[in-house]
Each structure stands twice: as C-alpha cells, then as structure tokens.
C-alpha cells in the first residue's frame, strides 16, 4: 500500500476514533481525507464558506482556497508564484479578499489579493518592519498584522476601504 493511501486509512480510522473519544468534535471526513491526500498543510483560516490554507507538495508551498460547500479548491489566478514562499494567509467571509505574508526575492511582504479582479497589491509596512502573520476580519474591513520592528513584535491594524 502506498504511504498516502496508508495515511488516508489511518486518518479515517483516527477520525472515527476521535469522534468516539472526543465526543464533541465531528470531523469533516471527506474534506480531511482530501487535504491529507494533498500532502502537508498548515496555517488554516476559516471564514464563511471558505477555508484558506498553505499546502506543500514536492517541496513547494502554495496558497489554496477551498469552497466548503463542494470541498473543492477554487482557482487563485496570479496569486501563487514559483519564486514566492507563503508564510501566512487569511480570507474574508465572501472569499473575495485574501491577505498574505510571503517571502520573495529575499524580502518578506504583505499583499492583498482580490479574487474577482485577480489583482494583487503590496501593502507597505510603515514604519518599516517585517510582517510575519496576518488576519483579516470576516467582514473584510480590518487587517491585523504581526510585525517585527526594532527587535520587538508589534501588531499593526489597517482599515481597508
């Protein structure tokens, strides 16, 4: 049996056991099996009907946005680049705005992606600092960014138009 098939079987069994042992958590089995088959995954962000996460396959990380109604990923044209390493991802409840911290060309940057427009905007960190983690309010209006600045971790809040 292939390792991924083994992992899927183990995940199914542990999900069943988890449901019995935990009592309060009911796994979304179809979605979890699909995520397990896709390789490693981290940094989940749930909002509305959407799950944004970073998946790793064959040594390359990329952002994925999954529609929870269909358990299917949707295209994110222009967001994932072979020369960029995503570090943190967040999505609003409409699945329209995604904010992302990524490393590219030796720099760490914060970008805002609008899915309907397939547009990507870099958001400057002022005063200068290095972003690490980002979270968007579900209404898509406020961004909270964890920034390393002057040897200290700080939180910047940005209101979006």
């Amino acid at each position: 049996m292939k390792p991924r098939a083994l992992l899927a079987v183990a995940l199914g069994l542990s999900s069943l056991l988890g449901g019995c042992l935990g009592g309060n958590l009911r796994p979304l089995q179809g979605l979890n099996l699909q995520l397990a088959r896709g390789g490693t995954s981290h940094s989940p962000a749930l909002s509305g009907n959407w799950l944004a996460l970073i998946t790793g396959h064959q040594g390359r990380d990329q952002v994925q946005l999954v529609n929870l109604s269909s358990s299917a990923p949707v295209p994110l044209l222009g967001l994932n680049r072979p020369d960029a390493q995503p570090l943190s991802i967040t999505v609003d409840q409409r699945g329209e705005r995604l904010a992302l911290v990524r490393q590219r060309e030796g720099r760490t940057e914060l970008v805002l992606y609008r899915r309907s427009l397939q547009s990507l905007q870099a958001i400057p960190i002022e005063p200068a600092g290095v972003p690490r983690l980002v979270q968007l309010s579900a209404d898509g209006r406020v961004l909270a960014v964890e920034v390393s600045r002057g040897g200290q971790w700080q939180v910047d809040l940005l209101t979006l138009p």
Binding site: G22, N24, S41, I123, A138, L157
Partner: protein, 191 residues
C-alpha cells in the same frame, strides 16, 4: 441622439476633474489605496511585545498574545478604546497561542498548555464555559481558526512530525455566533 457639451459646461467639468485629480493625489500621498493605519490599542504597560493578533468577525475586538510575568498570555480588548475584557478561564495554562474569535467575540478559541500536552480550547464568554477540543492521542494542535459563526474549527495538527490541517464541525457543541441580520438555522441562539 448624441449631445455635445456646452463650452461653459466643458469648463465646469474640467474644473471638477482638476479638483478631483488634485484631491486624489493628496489622498494617495497620505493613505495609499485608502488604507487607514491605526496602532493596536495600548495595553497600559508601556511598549511591550505583542503577537498572534486575531479580530472578531466584525473587527470590534482584538485578541493578541502578550508577555505577563514571563508567560505568553492571551488578552482580549476592544479595538476602539483598548478596554481589556475579562477571560474567566485563561489566567493559567500558558503558554497561550493562536487565538481566534467568532463574529461578535462570544467565543475565543486558542491553543493552551495542559500538563505536557498542547490542547485546543474554546471559551464561551456568554456563559463562562470552557470547551476542550479533544483530539486522538498522538495529534497535537499547533494553530487553529474558528469560523466566525462558530460552526466549524480548522486545526493544524502535528502527526508524526508532519503538519496537517483538519476541519471539524462544532454544531453539536456550540450555539452559532452569527453576524447581525443573518438567519439562524437549527434553533441556535443568535447574538
């Protein structure tokens, strides 16, 4: 039929366009793309490190992790005033990490330390209950995200050294915390 603008009209439009361009330029200088920056609400103890920010769905509340007595501790605040809101169960079990809030901030989910293990929990601020999210042995939560309506939670778990995201239904555990005006299904309580 096409209508040609009158010359005085043309002048007025040109004036308006100039004014608009100038105001757009000025606006763009101060706030690129209309972004408005706001420092996180002060904690009242001077400059200190703050990490892991999480906003309620409506953006009214901010949870973040600060150092308290050398221990990473979650703090919940109103974003506009900086007022610190009480958390009944979260004075211990540090280090705290990965806070996540529901739409109105009724629920705060996070990862805490329980003995030798990391444990995901949800505090219900409406009734003071603490809900541990029990995972099968061998799976440790690293990060989490609570859906704004509190119907689901996504956990990043470490299983045999490999990170993996798993999503769980919470509808049997929590009442939904909906945005105002959202229909409530399943007889839950709308807040």
């Amino acid at each position: 039929m096409s209508v040609q603008p009158h010359s005085s009209c043309r002048c007025r439009w040109a004036g308006i366009a100039t004014l608009l361009s100038a105001s757009l330029l000025l606006w763009g200088c101060t706030t690129p793309w209309g972004l408005r920056r706001q420092p996180a609400a002060p904690l009242g103890i001077g400059q200190e490190s703050r990490q892991d920010p999480a906003l309620s769905g409506d953006g009214r509340l901010l949870a973040s992790v600060v150092e308290r007595g050398g221990r990473s501790t979650v703090m919940l605040q109103e974003r506009s005033s900086g007022k610190v809101l009480p958390l009944r169960h979260l004075r211990r079990q540090q280090p705290h990490s990965s806070p996540s809030l529901s739409w109105n901030g009724r629920y705060l989910a996070l990862v805490v330390q329980q003995g030798p293990r990391r444990q995901a929990v949800i505090e219900d601020r409406a009734n003071g209950q603490l809900h541990p999210l029990l995972l099968p042995a061998g799976r440790e939560p690293q990060r989490l995200s609570l859906a704004p309506d509190a119907r689901r939670v996504a956990l990043e778990v470490l299983d045999n050294g490999q990170a993996r995201v798993e999503v769980f239904d919470l509808s049997g555990l929590l009442e939904p915390d909906q945005a105002p005006g959202q229909p409530v299904s399943g007889g839950g309580l709308s807040r």
